[in-house]
């Protein structure tokens, strides 16, 4: 039994890739298309032979298409052969605790992501011109990122002081009445699939900004979806991620309770607490496109949500462009003020 899995076209033997546009599999060489039922029939369902066995992890693999030896980083679970570009899935890396329950398949193709990114960076006025060039944008890579999804019941309580202020006039005086209230709110709420990224390499802030994913399109995990994309397995375990999730969930509860307090001129919170129970954890792979650009010796990373197309990243600011823009705006404003002021002065 092979340690790796490659998807080959039954018509011509060429490599198959998952096609986000039509949610099917397409052959690189003869363009034959296969839908999920057909792929399942040819390659079997997710829980197939030997997936639950734990084998010793291998440092290198042989590409089944060209025989080359691939060295894969510890967390890489799906990749491409360096030489023949065949998509390769390292089955090993999906075994046991690393077997995901869910996956959201790619909805946006690489070409589409490039177009979206091009438009997005085009709007960033102060971004350096190099970032907007096609050969830079070409470097976009599609990958499945490891996420922990948490369900939980949350209970929160908050209290504080609110004031209602009214003013009126009578005679020569202006009256101000301030009514003070003690406000309490307490409630329960259930959260589902709060995501926390499980990869040390992926910046947590960007991963939060790339949310939300649309869970209507979440599927039970199948390795088939991965062919043609990179995939990483988690290296931050669920216990650590649960702590991050807890903080987020507690903030969600506070905000939800706070949104039920209304009708006050001012409100100050004096106490706030929340707790969680019945926490369920699931491991899922989520699609995203990644692009790394260098500017002045610094790396700038951009992420595109592979399902929704949301783009996050901090475009660097080319100071020359900033200064020129400032100068132009100031000059125009000066001219308008001089001519307009003289007109009305």
């Amino acid at each position: 039994m092979s340690a790796i899995k490659e998807y080959d076209c039954t018509n011509c033997g060429g490599p198959l890739r998952f096609n986000p546009e039509e949610t099917n599999w397409i052959c690189d060489y003869c363009f034959s298309k296969f839908n999920k039922e057909e792929i399942d029939k040819i390659y079997g369902e997710t829980k197939e032979e030997g997936l639950d066995e734990i084998h010793e992890d291998l440092d290198s693999y042989h590409c089944e298409s060209c025989g080359a030896e691939l060295i894969a980083e510890e967390t890489t679970a799906a990749t491409f052969c360096l030489y023949c570009k065949s998509p390769t899935i390292i089955k090993q890396r999906f075994k046991g605790e690393f077997q995901p329950q869910y996956v959201i398949p790619f909805k946006i193709t690489k070409e589409q992501s490039k177009e979206m990114y091009k438009k997005w960076i085009g709007k960033k006025f102060f971004a350096p011109i190099e970032f907007k060039k096609d050969d830079e944008i070409d470097k976009v890579t599609g990958m499945y990122a490891p996420f922990w999804l948490f369900d939980c019941n949350a209970h929160g309580a908050t209290s504080g002081r609110g004031t209602k202020v009214s003013t009126w006039r009578s005679g020569d005086y202006e009256y101000t009445k301030t009514k003070t209230y003690r406000v309490e709110r307490e409630g329960n709420i259930r959260y589902e699939k709060i995501p926390v990224d499980g990869s040390k390499k992926l910046d947590d802030n960007y991963m939060t900004m790339i949310e939300p994913y649309d869970y209507n399109e979440i599927e039970e995990f199948s390795m088939h979806y991965l062919t043609g994309f990179l995939a990483e397995k988690y290296d931050v375990n669920s216990i650590e991620c649960e702590k991050i999730m807890e903080q987020r969930a507690k903030d969600f509860v506070s905000n939800r309770l706070r949104s039920t307090i209304s009708g006050y001129s001012s409100y100050i919170s004096t106490s706030n607490n929340a707790n969680l129970n019945d926490i369920k954890t699931n491991y899922s792979l989520m699609p995203l496109y990644m692009l790394v650009n260098k500017f002045k010796d610094k790396d700038y990373v951009f992420f595109i949500n592979g399902q929704t197309g949301k783009i996050v990243g901090d475009a660097p600011i080319d100071h020359k462009r900033q200064v020129i823009f400032f100068g132009a705006v100031a000059a125009v404003a000066w001219i308008i003020t001089v001519l307009g002021g003289a007109l009305f002065g």
Binding site: E184, D314, Q322
Partner: protein
């Protein structure tokens, strides 16, 4: 009674002034204090004539060095009335008095639309003229006065558009405005380069699972304060419409130099 007497007194003074017409004085430029250079009279007179013809109002310039105890306002108003200046039934016109005795410059307007038109401009006009007088440039002050009258008659503003553009270019205000707008525009575009979090708790809330188990708004106490509303003290500046001894209303104002 006192008013009537001072009125007659004044008329006498003015008639005497008429008798002692100084050589060089022209119809609209009466320089009893001898402040102006000889060659300026013709220039001022022809300017005054053109204003009178084109705009239907009569500008007059009067200088004195002895007020004989009267206020500049009274002298200016009465001189205009008793010498028959003005165009039309309302005697429309404007007179500038340079009173070296009181060291006051006074502008007197006659005719309701002239009064109304110039009243809001009196202070800016005086601000323009007074520096010339303080520097002893009496001829220039008269030339400037007639320029101002012509501008006001033609455009409603004291200075021409070109003059105002020059003023603006040397003022600091456009620079400040340009700086602020430049900074705001650059700031907005810079901040829009940053990415934001869009997912909220609502994205992960399960259906209608939100239930409030306790909701209380307990009234604690109430507090009422009051403050007295300050009264408006209307203080209006000097000038404004008033009636001269001849019965004609005048507008105008003055300032010392």
């Amino acid at each position: 009674m006192a008013k009537k007497l001072s009125g007659i007194f004044l008329v006498t003074i003015i008639l005497l002034l008429q008798v002692g017409l100084v050589f060089g004085n022209t119809d609209n430029v009466i320089d009893n204090a001898k402040l102006l250079d000889g060659d300026i009279y013709d220039e001022l007179q022809s300017k005054a004539n053109s204003i009178k013809t084109i705009y239907g109002m009569e500008p007059v310039i009067l200088t004195i060095d002895d007020a004989k105890g009267n206020s500049s306002m009274v002298i200016a108003d009465d001189y205009y009335d008793y010498n028959g200046f003005g165009v039309g039934s309302e005697n429309k016109g404007i007179l500038m008095l340079i009173d070296m005795d009181n060291r006051t410059v006074w502008i007197s307007t006659t005719g309701q639309d002239i009064i109304d038109k110039y009243q809001p401009l009196i202070d800016p006009i005086l601000e323009e003229i007074t520096p010339y007088l303080s520097d002893g440039e009496y001829s220039d002050s008269c030339i400037r006065f007639l320029e101002i009258v012509e501008n006001v008659e033609r455009t409603g503003k004291i200075s021409t558009y070109g003059q105002r553009v020059m003023d603006m270019m040397t003022s600091i205000i456009p620079y400040i405005v340009a700086l602020v707008i430049g900074l705001i525009a650059t700031g907005i575009l810079t901040l829009s380069s940053k990415s934001k979090v869009t997912a909220t708790g609502r994205n992960y809330e399960s259906g209608d699972s939100f239930v409030l188990t306790n909701q209380a708004d307990h009234f604690e106490h109430e507090n009422t304060t009051r403050r007295a509303i300050p009264k408006n003290n209307n203080s209006s500046g000097g000038g404004g419409s008033h009636t001269g001894s001849s019965g004609t209303s005048h507008g105008g104002g003055g300032s010392s130099f």
